[in-house]
């Protein structure tokens, strides 16, 4: 263990999760479980077309349905006395280019719909069934327009234009890296290899869909929105802007939240509509997304089409990487999107490798599809997939073992902190032990032998290796600001020790399954030397927590945990002053250990933190000018990002007659720095791997040429199931991060990054005898079967 985070009584241990009792008994309170007196329900009518002009909306029949309170269109919103909700802001621009408001999402449209699912009208009714029944009575006179669903088609001269402000549908053309130096490396290299990866979209698919319950008091002007949120304070700020309503009169609460995976970060039209209607009607209003609407409107993930090239020498030394990418933005630019396929993607484009140069050019293109935004791993996954596919291709072509080629290019342990060609400062790393451990677990040499033997028997085993870097722990604020962020990326925590000595930690992060109540309590309990059961963690309420940035990008451990640790340290420092005063010694003569402040060398002269807390609130005998109470706040801004890493190996067997894939092994070794709770770390990796396997094998949000989503229900969208995810064998190494006070790096996205290239490389490795050197995700059995059929040595081939 490092000096920054000594193993404690609770830190580093698996303890029972504080979250579980209410979640396993049905006592949890998700948004749809909540009710308010006088509550009414809404159903939102959404565009049936991918692209259409709206000539007329006839709501008269819907209004006549018994139980309907009102039916509103964009026209009604504009005519109301309240301000009309504005566009949903883009909150990450580029340093030299702000995304114009013309491309921001609209709350409700009355003239033209640009994607299927865009909001057109709202029915408010006493009952949810009535609202939906009445919604079906609204008649919309659409005039369908030509649609475009591929970023490449959208750039064609005759493609329909989505917004007049971008006649060619290109919103941005972004470049990073040293083009000249990269070109020189490519010219000097012995070999270049390329790979093309299409723009697969993913549905985030939290099992709980988005929803909101808004209440408004006309007398106080207080607007409360209980909603499915990963960052209530951000939602409050955005809602304040969208509704043009003062931030201090808005309370946003995230009750229990049933997963998010990124999709509950951004602001959407629906929650703004719900809040606006509560003010308009002065009645509580609830909206819950049915699954098909969630699939149409939740920001999709990925959407980045990549053409990547690798420059490499005979001995396997990689010189440079070069990429041209096109991101399928969808019909509007979503809140954080500009940062994702650009700065984030670029940040890890050199992966765990020491390269001489890199360059990328990314164009953001509008299409008639739902907007895309961050989804677990965001576009870090695309960078990892591209790089690891290129490494596999190069290894095969050069006849170098895929493990060896990675080993030769790894940044060495003694080179940290390491500045990459992409301008990142990697905090710490030791990549070979993680690789070696994975090889040992899978018994790599023996496995290669078995693969060769099986091939002779006409059986096709594939071994897929993927090493990766994850970029975690957003901020620091200043660096994010330099990259165009419109908000800070610190985290806030207030540690309140009550007069009795029990503790509440108020945290600006907002967990939704990750176990913050447990892990943050572990940090506090150790720092203050109080029992774990005496610590309660409160998150997700803008009225209870001073401020916060929320939970995404694996920032809660490194940044949120850092804030918790700093706040607790401040409490100890105040306690030390009180103890020194009351025990009549100098401050430096007080030792604090295991919850007791003792005079150095005289352990019997001591006060417990509980006694100190009582004195702090009693206020009879405090140092001069000290304010009573024992509560401290930290707005912690991290020193830098953190860079977890690891190596995953997938082993598969493919039946060439049917294309069926069977997982033989899946091994993963992750290094996320110090682990607050190993069981929770492993749980995060397991969940991430399953999502990565989903992307690799079965998940894709698919549109037809008219912009109709073909995967709107879970009947047609291929989520992983209990019997499609293999048994995972996981282990870890520990390389503490020096970039935060607790040495942690974040682990939420690791598996999602590692699994797709591990699985796809395994498939390609298995199919090598067929002359197949690439397959696109999702690699379904059908994709494999087709590739074999069309291969040179397959049944449809020449030989």
């Amino acid at each position: 263990m490092s000096e920054t985070a000594p193993a404690g009584k609770y830190f580093g241990k698996t303890v029972e999760r504080k979250e579980d009792p209410e979640l396993i008994t049905g006592d949890a309170g998700y948004v749809d479980d909540l009710e308010e007196p006088g509550m009414c329900h809404i159903a939102i009518l959404r565009s049936q077309h991918g692209h259409a002009k709206i000539n007329d909306i006839d709501t008269s029949r819907a209004e006549e349905v018994e139980g309907v309170i009102d039916v509103l269109t964009a026209e009604d919103f504009e005519a109301a006395a309240l301000p009309t909700p504005g566009h949903i802001p883009v909150i990450w621009h580029f340093t030299d280019f702000e995304i114009p408001e013309a491309f921001w999402k609209r709350v409700i449209v009355g003239d033209r719909a640009r994607y299927q699912g865009e909001s057109i009208a709202v029915v408010i009714a006493e009952d949810r069934y009535t609202a939906y029944n009445a919604r079906d009575q609204i008649h919309v006179d659409y005039e369908p327009l030509d649609a475009v669903v591929s970023p490449f088609d959208a750039m064609e001269a005759d493609a329909p234009t989505l917004h007049d402000e971008a006649p060619d549908n290109v919103v941005f053309d972004w470049e990073e890296g040293d083009a000249e130096a990269t070109d020189e490396q490519f010219e000097a290299a012995d070999h270049t290899f390329s790979v093309e990866l299409p723009s697969q979209r993913i549905l985030p698919t939290s099992i709980e869909t988005r929803g909101a319950l808004a209440t408004y008091s006309g007398s106080s002007g207080k607007l409360e929105l209980q909603m499915t949120s990963q960052n209530p304070h951000l939602h409050r700020s955005l809602l304040s802007r969208v509704l043009d309503y003062p931030e201090h009169k808005i309370q946003v609460v995230a009750p229990d939240v049933g997963g998010g995976f990124g999709s509950k970060i951004y602001h959407y039209a629906d929650e703004a509509i719900t809040a606006w209607l509560a003010m308009y009607l002065e009645r509580p209003v609830k909206w819950i997304a049915p699954r098909s609407e969630a699939s149409q409107t939740d920001a999709h993930g990925r959407g980045l089409a990549q053409e990547g090239e690798l420059a490499i020498d005979d001995d396997g030394t990689v010189r440079a990487v070069r990429v041209t990418g096109h991101v399928d933005l969808g019909a509007y630019v979503s809140c954080l999107l500009p940062a994702l396929p650009t700065d984030e993607y670029w940040g890890v484009l050199s992966g765990p490798y020491d390269l001489n140069a890199a360059h990328c050019r990314i164009r953001g293109v509008l299409t008639n599809a739902a907007p895309v935004d961050a989804y677990r791993g965001a576009n870090l996954t695309d960078a990892t997939h591209l790089l690891e596919r290129l490494m596999k291709t190069a290894a095969t072509e050069l006849g170098i073992d895929p493990v060896e080629i990675r080993r030769r290019n790894f940044i060495s342990a003694d080179e940290f902190p390491f500045e990459t060609v992409t301008g990142m400062l990697y905090d710490s790393g030791d990549y070979e032990p993680a690789l070696d451990r994975a090889l040992e677990m899978v018994d790599y040499e023996a496995l290669r032998g078995r693969q060769a033997k099986l091939r002779e028997e006409g059986r096709y085993l594939g071994i897929g290796v993927a090493s990766f870097i994850e970029m975690s722990g957003l901020g620091p604020s200043a660096i994010c600001g330099m990259l165009g962020a419109q908000s800070g990326y610190w985290e806030n925590s207030t540690i309140r020790v009550h007069p009795s000595g029990t503790v509440t930690a108020f945290c600006g992060t907002s967990g939704h399954g990750q176990g913050h109540e447990t892990t943050f309590a572990q940090i506090v309990a150790d720092k203050l030397g109080v029992p774990y059961d005496d610590v309660e963690v409160v998150e997700g309420d803008t009225d209870q927590i001073a401020h916060g940035q929320g939970t995404y990008a694996s920032r809660s451990g490194p940044v949120g945990g850092g804030a918790v640790a700093r706040g607790a340290d401040k409490v100890v420092e105040k306690g030390r002053k009180i103890a020194a005063h009351q025990l009549e010694v100098q401050l430096e003569d007080i030792d604090f250990e295991d919850g007791a402040f003792a005079v150095t060398g005289a352990p019997d002269r001591s006060m417990t933190i509980q006694e100190i807390a009582a004195e702090a609130y009693l206020g009879h005998d405090l140092p001069d000018e000290m304010e009573p109470g024992l509560e401290e706040t930290s707005f912690y801004d991290p020193e830098n990002l953190t860079f977890p890493f690891g190596t995953h190996i997938a082993v598969v067997e493919i039946d060439p007659a049917t294309g069926e894939l069977e997982f033989v092994r899946y091994v993963g070794v992750d290094d996320c720095g110090e682990q607050i709770n190993p069981q929770i770390v492993e749980g995060q990796v397991q969940g991430g791997v399953a999502q990565g396997i989903g992307q690799a094998r079965s998940e894709a949000a698919v549109y037809d040429d008219r912009g109709n989503i073909r995967t709107a229900t879970l009947l047609d969208y291929g989520l992983p199931k209990t019997n499609t995810v293999p048994e995972l064998e996981l282990d870890s190494t520990v390389t503490p991060s020096p970039h935060n006070p607790i040495g942690v790096k974040g682990v939420g996205e690791a598996g999602t990054l590692a699994a797709p290239p591990a699985v796809v490389n395994a498939v390609v490795d298995a199919l090598e005898p067929f002359g197949i050197d690439h397959v696109n995700m999702p690699v379904t059995d059908e994709v494999i079967w087709t590739a074999i059929q069309e291969s040179e040595t397959g049944p449809g081939g020449e030989s």
């Binding site: 029972e16 229990d256 199931k721």
Partner: protein, 162 residues
């Protein structure tokens, strides 16, 4: 609006209610009767978050009309804990970290309760096959399998819920 009288026994409590014939069982349980532990994830019978036991058999309550359950005995997650004691399946999920956000967990546990009733000593593969109608997006499933295994062991060793 037409309403029908329906009687349901939920976790041993008898309920006589009058509801619209179109109302789904899950909405009746959650909205009319307040058993909100049962969740809704897909409204198409795929995700299994709404799984309850009806006359001892697992059903997806978003695919049934309330009237189809007239006279039935329903068990929901709220009924698993008895006399203040957690059911072994609840203990298993908690101890093995078989949940993260917990949204799919009630349905997952109800399916698992039935699975262990049918097959008290399942293999891991049998558990995976038995739970394939319940989707979880958080856990990657491995710890859920561990949870069911652990519950099976507890129930073998004389747990009170056999």
């Amino acid at each position: 609006m037409r309403r029908e009288d329906v009687s349901l026994t939920v976790n041993g409590n008898e309920h006589e209610i009058s509801i619209e014939p179109s109302r789904l069982l899950v909405h009746t349980l959650r909205g009319e009767l307040g058993y909100t532990g049962t969740n809704i994830g897909c409204e198409s019978g795929v995700c299994g978050a709404c799984t309850v036991l009806m006359d001892g058999k697992p059903v997806k309550s978003c695919t049934l009309l309330t009237m189809q359950a007239d006279g039935a005995e329903i068990e929901t997650v709220e009924g698993l804990k008895t006399n203040g004691e957690l059911h072994p399946i609840q203990e298993g999920f908690s101890q093995e970290h078989g949940l993260q956000c917990g949204y799919c967990t009630p349905g997952m546990m109800m399916t698992a309760v039935d699975l262990l009733k049918q097959n008290p000593d399942p293999t891991r593969e049998e558990i995976r096959d038995g739970l394939e109608g319940n989707l979880c997006r958080c856990t990657g499933y491995q710890n859920i399998v561990n949870a069911v295994e652990s519950a099976a062991e507890k129930m073998h060793s004389g747990g009170s819920h056999e």
